[in-house]
């Protein structure tokens, strides 16, 4: 009997220990000068979690950022793999467990993750204005200032700017559809060659269609249930109408855009999609996409958004995280990242604000060949909608399309 008493006792202690909350252990860096932050960061080791699904991005991080921050600031940067949902799970579990020291010090986030992390108050900030290189960023630009219509308020550092593009194989598609009607026509006459990934990219495509149906500006601002109901119904009717002509008769969908790329290069699909307008160029340079692949956008436009880095509230190396963030938005790091042969990620720096030497370098940057010039996409750039639209699209895509 004694045995069971001890068992229950240990059990209870562990249960309560796991549920106990802990006080906030913030170290306030807001009163320190940048030199003091640099000093504090020296010799620190930093864990950064980010999506590592692209060899170019990994190469940029491992062969450039990691050695540079070591050399310039004596910071050991460890990069680990994890998409937005993983980052949210890790930070949420840590907060739920009352863990005061986060495993993560810097995270690559965008819209929906920012929304989730702000919802659970897992981000440190505001800190962005303390970064010396932030003076090169035009924070009045709505594509930078707002992340999914949420003001970033100094809680995340803009890192790159991209626009959603549709990629097709010009050897198989002579004139790609540039609006909904043409897409419907194309899909019906070329069954099995088009589909939508059930992931962030696919939902971004649907969002572009939704905005196109509602008209530019109709859905901006806070989430509007009535408007969503009205236009999403049209969207689902449209998709359900052409779904039988999708890949595998629309009975299943690729789980992510990587799987879709694979189907595209295998020749099963004539189209794939990308959130990065330069991806077509670097995938051709890599030899993964055929030389005949091209990127374009619909006449009514596609979503343009920025992606950011943030510092978890319970990071124990915030100073180092700030120094690395500052390095990531330095003209040299941004220039390198923007080159199509490196990563091709659009810079967040304002070409008017960077020093003249860098203005020239950015102007003379090697051009991409297989996607329209970034400036020409500007006229077809749509702003992200409030995060709730994405939540609902994910949900309803499953119930209205996949399960029907």
């Amino acid at each position: 009997m004694k045995f069971f008493f001890y068992y229950v006792l240990i059990f209870s202690v562990l249960l309560f220990a796991s549920c106990s909350s802990s006080p906030d252990n913030q170290t306030d860096l807001q009163n320190l000068s940048w030199d003091q932050i640099l000093q504090k960061a020296e010799g620190q080791s930093l864990n950064m979690m980010m999506w590592q699904g692209d060899p170019n991005i990994n190469k940029y991080m491992q062969q450039y950022v990691v050695p540079q921050v070591k050399k310039q600031f004596d910071i050991d940067l460890n990069v680990s793999n994890g998409q937005g949902s993983t980052i949210v799970s890790v930070l949420m579990s840590e907060l739920e467990a009352g863990q005061q020291q986060s495993e993560l010090d810097l995270v690559w986030i965008n819209g929906e993750t920012f929304y989730q992390l702000r919802e659970i108050d897992a981000l440190y900030g505001p800190f962005v204005s303390q970064l010396p290189n932030s003076k090169f960023i035009d924070f009045s630009n709505p594509f930078i200032k707002y992340d999914f219509q949420q003001s970033i308020n100094g809680y995340e550092v803009p890192w790159g700017k991209v626009q959603f593009t549709i990629i097709y194989d010009s050897a198989r598609v002579s004139s790609p559809p540039t609006n909904r009607q043409a897409l419907r026509q194309y899909v019906k006459t070329h069954p099995g060659t088009f589909t939508i990934a059930n992931d962030f990219s696919g939902m971004t495509f649907l969002k572009s269609l939704l905005i196109g149906m509602a008209g530019k500006g109709t859905l901006s601002g806070e989430f509007n249930e009535q408007a969503y109901q009205k236009y999403s119904e049209r969207l689902w009717n449209y998709i359900n109408d052409i779904k039988p002509y999708f890949w595998k008769n629309g009975e299943t969908f690729p789980s992510n855009v990587t799987a879709m790329h694979q189907l595209f290069v295998n020749g099963e699909l004539n189209f794939t999609m990308s959130n990065n307008d330069t991806e077509v160029d670097n995938k051709i340079l890599e030899g993964f996409f055929p030389q005949t692949a091209r990127a374009y956008v619909f006449q009514k436009g596609t979503i343009r958004n920025s992606h950011y880095v943030g510092i978890p509230k319970n990071s124990t190396h915030k100073a180092a995280a700030m120094v690395v963030s500052n390095f990531l938005i330095s003209p040299e790091a941004q220039y390198r990242k923007a080159r199509p042969d490196i990563w091709g990620d659009g810079t967040v720096l304002s070409k008017l604000k960077v020093p003249p030497k860098w203005q020239q370098k950015f102007a003379a940057m090697p051009q991409r060949y297989y996607a329209p010039p970034r400036d020409s996409l500007q006229d077809h750039a749509l702003r992200e909608l409030a995060p709730e639209y994405m939540i609902r699209l994910y949900e309803d895509f499953r119930t209205e399309i996949i399960q029907k």
């Binding site: 045995f3 240990i10 929906e112 659970i120 299943t252």
Partner: protein
């Protein structure tokens, strides 16, 4: 009380062993289950608003969850049926060759493959743009690779079943061959033969029942293992229905954080069903290897 304690444990070593087992294996699981339960009732969790039964109500009325459970059972049963049939055939008809030479070595090869690698292999080989489709296309049997039958991401889970069977078949073949020798089944079959049993009767009445009876606990546990698999259905399964692990992870990582309790409920319901199933199956058995049981 003393008598009770003496009955419970034969000696101190046994008591310590049991205590360690409970502490290291049972306790964490129990804590996990209780945590999931609290989470599902809104009692804990960062975004919880206090006690509520709404998530449970949602879960019970969620057809997708029940569909997913059914699909999971179907995949596991189909895999184990094919595996048993294949392993028995191999054991009965190819026992000798499989114990020597190249064949003997090759049967170990699939055992070295991690599930995720097998999933990718199946995908690369059996998809409509995969290796087999291309060969058949090159041979001119089909006019486009899209005419190749859907074997991955398909409605009936053929890809998932194939991947699992590929992994389980060598394991159970080796296991059956071992049991065959350990149980002297050969001798028993000979006795049957002496008593006038035909070859088919020997297989049906002696070899197969002994092997299945001895392997029953392992087969049951392997079925549960297949039910809980993640990478294979993730890669070669389809978006709907999904096997339970894929469904739980999807719900756990949903964009909408207030849906997380549903993930815990899905997992809890699945565990409950498994425990009920195991209780019913092993109610009149124990795990002794005594064939008289």
């Amino acid at each position: 009380m003393r008598i009770f304690e003496q009955k419970l444990f034969k000696n101190k070593v046994e008591a310590t062993g049991l205590l360690l087992f409970l502490l290291l294996a049972v306790l964490p699981l129990l804590l996990g289950i209780i945590y999931a339960l609290l989470y599902s009732l809104g009692i804990t969790g960062l975004v919880s608003d206090g006690f509520t039964l709404k998530y449970w109500q949602q879960a019970f009325t969620d057809i997708e969850l029940w569909y997913s459970m059914g699909y999971t059972f179907y995949i596991a049963l189909a895999t184990i049926t094919l595996t048993i049939a294949g392993a028995l055939l191999l054991t009965i008809y190819l026992k000798e060759p499989l114990q020597q030479g190249f064949a003997g070595f090759s049967i170990y090869v699939p055992l070295a493959f991690p599930a995720i690698v097998v999933a990718f292999l199946i995908f690369q080989l059996a998809s409509q743009s995969g290796f087999f489709a291309r060969i058949i296309y090159q041979l001119g049997w089909i006019s486009s690779t899209a005419q190749f039958p859907e074997l991955v991401n398909d409605t009936y889970g053929i890809g998932i079943i194939a991947a699992h069977t590929f992994m389980a078949l060598p394991f159970f073949t080796l296991y059956f061959i071992n049991l065959y020798d350990q149980e002297n089944i050969n001798q028993l079959a000979k006795v049957g033969q002496t008593l006038g049993a035909s070859s088919a009767q020997q297989h049906r009445r002696i070899v197969v029942p002994i092997l299945l009876r001895r392997a029953f606990p392992t087969l049951t546990l392997y079925t549960i293992f297949v039910m809980g698999s993640y990478e294979i259905p993730l890669i070669v399964g389809r978006q709907s229905p999904q096997m339970i692990s894929v469904l739980v992870i999807r719900k756990l990582r949903k964009f909408n954080l207030s849906d997380i309790p549903e993930a815990y409920i899905s997992a809890l319901l699945f565990i409950t069903l498994i425990i009920i199933g195991l209780t019913l199956i092993f109610k009149n058995r124990n795990f002794s290897y005594d064939l008289d049981q």
